[in-house]
Amino acid sequence: MLRIVVRRCVSVVATLFAIVTLAFFLLHAAPGGPFDSEKEVMPEVRERIEQSFHLDESTPKQYARYLRQLLKGDLGPSFQYHDQRVSDLIRAGLPIDLKIGGFALLLAILIGVPLGAIAAWRPGSWLDKGAGFAAVLGISVPVYVAAPLLILVFAVTLRWLPAGGWGDGAMRNLVLPVLAMALPYIAYISRITRGGFVTALAEPYIRTAKAKGLGTAAILFRHALRPALIPLVAFLGPAIVGAITGSIAIETTFGLPGIGRFFVDGAFNRDYTLVMGVTILYGVLIVLANLLADLVHAALDPRVRTHE
């Protein structure tokens, strides 16, 4: 187990360096600059502004400057939000996504895993078909359709919940975004869990358990659960990162101040430092989540440990 961790940590640094370099040069290669706007500024003014952000320097020089800054743990000032530093922007936005993404995944696991398990117990039954239909619906209806529909029903028509806003993280503000975000995850998780269980339930040791006269719950959750969860764990690693780094659709529709929008707005506005900051964060989280998924996998599956 320790060897997995050490080996991964070494590759993390190399991966991150590659991400930073690639993202930096790709961003700067994109046509249009952060200060190209509808109202043309005089060349003298443009020069001044670009100087103040070191955009007058060559790209390699800017890259070297950025790397030096990064080594000091500084993500630099945002091009778009003049008074803010990228690290402050991320620090302010990330907790919101953590909360919404965290709750959404939790909800998805709590509903999706039992749903998948039950569907797998009797493949082809009406329960399985119903769960399958709901999953296809959840996967194929995109968030940007589901979210406005939820708003329409629960906020505009019934007036039970606010149509958007963060409201300092009050529960009533969380319900709709968490639900909208959880829907596709519930669908994926239930499908993956079902697949895992169907495979696990066909194993000889399950037949043995049945032959020994064990009850349904005991077979499902004591014997089949662990092997059945392995594909789900592999899915959850990147899914956690996707969920907690925010969804542009959820944030835009519900007007939430998370960091998901930084990715898209930052890219549109050529806010180089902001996009770099979010990319690095995303990279670090992905690497960590995959590491975590591997560790859990190893804990669940003794064969992985033996191989290592």
Partner: protein
């Protein structure tokens, strides 16, 4: 995304929402409205999170809207958009219109209790010109003597001709008579800033708790990409006139999401709505849908320096071939007005409407066709060119498609729509990559010059490469006329030259679009669409 939201809302229009609200819903709404009125708290949408709240660095409408509440200049705009005294109680100008003396009120205070003095204005204005500030607004000051030299010749920013002969007098020397100078002064870049707090906190001076302002409201809290909360400023010089207790600005860039939040009772004013939504919004909320004239023109422009549009006959054919009444009437269902010339409707200004605009359609089409053929194009050899536009909403795309079809039908020209991402489009326009392109403009100040200056050789926005000495002289001469009627007459003559040269293709004039709660009072339409919260209040309709 936006389309999907519209789909969802359109779905609603087909079902329950199309009907008038039920009695119980009305009663529930009334309770909510009464509660909102009692708080004196106004909730406004802004269409993006402001890049900064520093008046010297502002460059988006969201920031302008908020700084209008946090700061107050020498003059301000009243609810109807007219310039009225603010920190300056009166002013004098020299006969040649070049020297302005502003006399400040003695009772104007910063939110920390310090008096607002002439030195604060001098500091703020010079700060904009200071290269270290890197303000995008520096060119707004070119009317003031010294500004051009600071910008182009590297003169010290202290050369800007604004001085404080006494603590309560601001003296400004202009380089050229500027009839709209007073209006300019109502803009955020000319607002005073509190020197001590700017120097003390550096870039962080605009943070809540640090920002010292002199406006009707003070900054209470800011959440990046989230709400910006303001509360009433007790030290404001005219605090008794302010009836709101607090204002919160919500940055929501999706117009459909803002509409949903307005309908759910979460917002009192929205900044924008999809034009197509009027059809189902009007039956539901009636007069709360506001569609008012706005000082902006949607047009296309042509690069006149290169073929094919270096040929005046072709340009004229392009301008004349479009059926604007159909574009605005059918595509926009009459919500916008057709544009035949550059300058939008402006009180006191009679636009130079081209003669062809009044021709019957058939005659106009024939004339356009004749010019098109004279320029050497025919069915066998059609004009084939791309019309470049930035990624736009569905409304704009539909208009562009209709235009392309009209050029094909009325001329036989093959105008292909070419879309590019917004920043890329801005850059490509700047480096003059395009021959035919989307070119909308919203005026900076209520004077025809803000439009007529666009095609001048000296303008940064002249992507057309237009350079006509007669036009430049006509505009320059007009801008120097202090008398408004005389100036407008001269502008009209300049606009006529522009019409004859067919440099741009005007399509329609903008309208501002707001959803405004029936209980929001004090709102008056004005063509610049500026609505400081100072003049707004919440009350049951009909009750003062």
């Amino acid at each position: 995304m936006i389309r999907a939201v519209i789909c969802a809302l359109a779905l609603c229009s087909l079902t329950a929402c199309d009907q008038a609200p039920s009695a119980s819903q009305v009663a529930r709404d009334n309770v909510a409205i009464a509660a909102q009125i009692a708080t004196g708290h106004l909730r406004r949408q802004i269409s993006q999170f402001p890049r900064t709240l520093d008046p010297a660095l502002n460059e988006d409408v969201a920031a302008y809207t908020i700084t209008d509440d946090l700061f107050e200049g020498l003059v301000r705009l009243d609810a109807g958009g007219s310039v009225v005294p603010a920190v300056a109680e009166r002013w004098e100008t020299s006969a040649d219109g070049l020297v302005w003396r502003f006399f400040l009120r003695r009772d104007a205070r910063w939110s920390n209790g310090d008096p607002v003095t002439a030195a604060d204005f001098v500091f703020a204005w010079r700060r904009v010109m200071n290269p270290a500030t890197a303000s995008p607004a520096a060119q707004q000051f070119v009317a003031i003597a010294g500004a051009q030299e600071i910008l182009t010749d590297g003169a010290s920013f202290e050369q800007l001709a604004v001085t404080a002969p006494s603590p309560y007098e601001v003296r400004v020397q202009l380089s050229t008579p500027t009839p709209y100078f007073l209006y300019l002064l109502s803009n955020c870049w000319f607002m005073p800033v509190h020197e001590a707090s700017v120097l003390k906190h550096g870039k962080q001076w605009t943070e809540a708790g640090k920002l010292v302002g002199n406006g009707a409201f003070v900054l209470k809290s800011v959440t990046v990409n989230g709400p910006i909360e303001l509360q009433r400023n007790p030290t404001y010089r005219d605090a008794s006139a302010v009836r709101l207790q607090a204002v919160t600005f919500y940055p929501i860039n999706d117009a459909a999401a803002a509409t949903a939040r307005f309908l759910a009772g979460d917002l009192d004013i929205t900044d924008r709505f999809q034009i197509g939504d009027i059809a189902w919004l009007r039956p539901q909320i009636g007069e709360q849908v506001r569609l008012e004239p706005y000082f902006g023109t949607v047009m296309m422009a042509m690069d006149v320096t290169r073929p094919p549009f270096s040929d005046l006959r072709l340009r004229r054919a392009m301008v004349m071939a479009l059926d604007r009444e159909i574009l605005t009437g059918k595509v926009f269902k009459g919500y916008f007005t057709p544009a035949y010339q550059l300058v939008p409707p402006l009180p006191g200004y009679t636009p130079a409407r081209p003669e062809w605009a009044d021709l019957p359609d058939a005659a106009r089409h024939r004339e356009a066709q004749r010019l098109y053929e004279e320029a050497g194009y025919s069915a066998d050899r059609p004009l084939d060119v791309e019309l470049w536009y930035p990624t736009a909403d569905a409304d704009t795309r539909r208009v562009l498609e209709a235009m392309s079809a009209m050029w094909r039908m009325n001329l036989g020209a093959n105008i292909r729509l070419a879309n590019e991402e917004w920043r890329v489009h801005q850059q490509n326009r700047r480096i003059r990559k395009h021959r035919l392109f989307f070119y909308p403009w919203i005026g900076d100040y209520p004077d025809a010059l803000t439009f007529l200056a666009l095609p001048l050789a000296s303008s940064g926005q002249n992507y057309m490469g237009y350079n006509n000495a007669a036009y430049a002289e006509a505009v320059d001469a007009a801008a120097r006329i202090v008398d408004e009627a005389g100036r407008n007459g001269a502008y009209r003559r300049a606009e006529k030259i522009l019409n004859d040269d067919a440099v741009i293709i005007p399509i329609y004039f903008y309208r501002s679009r707001h959803l405004l709660g029936s209980y929001v009072q004090g709102w008056r339409n004005n063509p610049m669409d500026r609505h400081p919260s100072r003049d707004l209040y919440l009350a049951v309709p009909g009750v003062p």
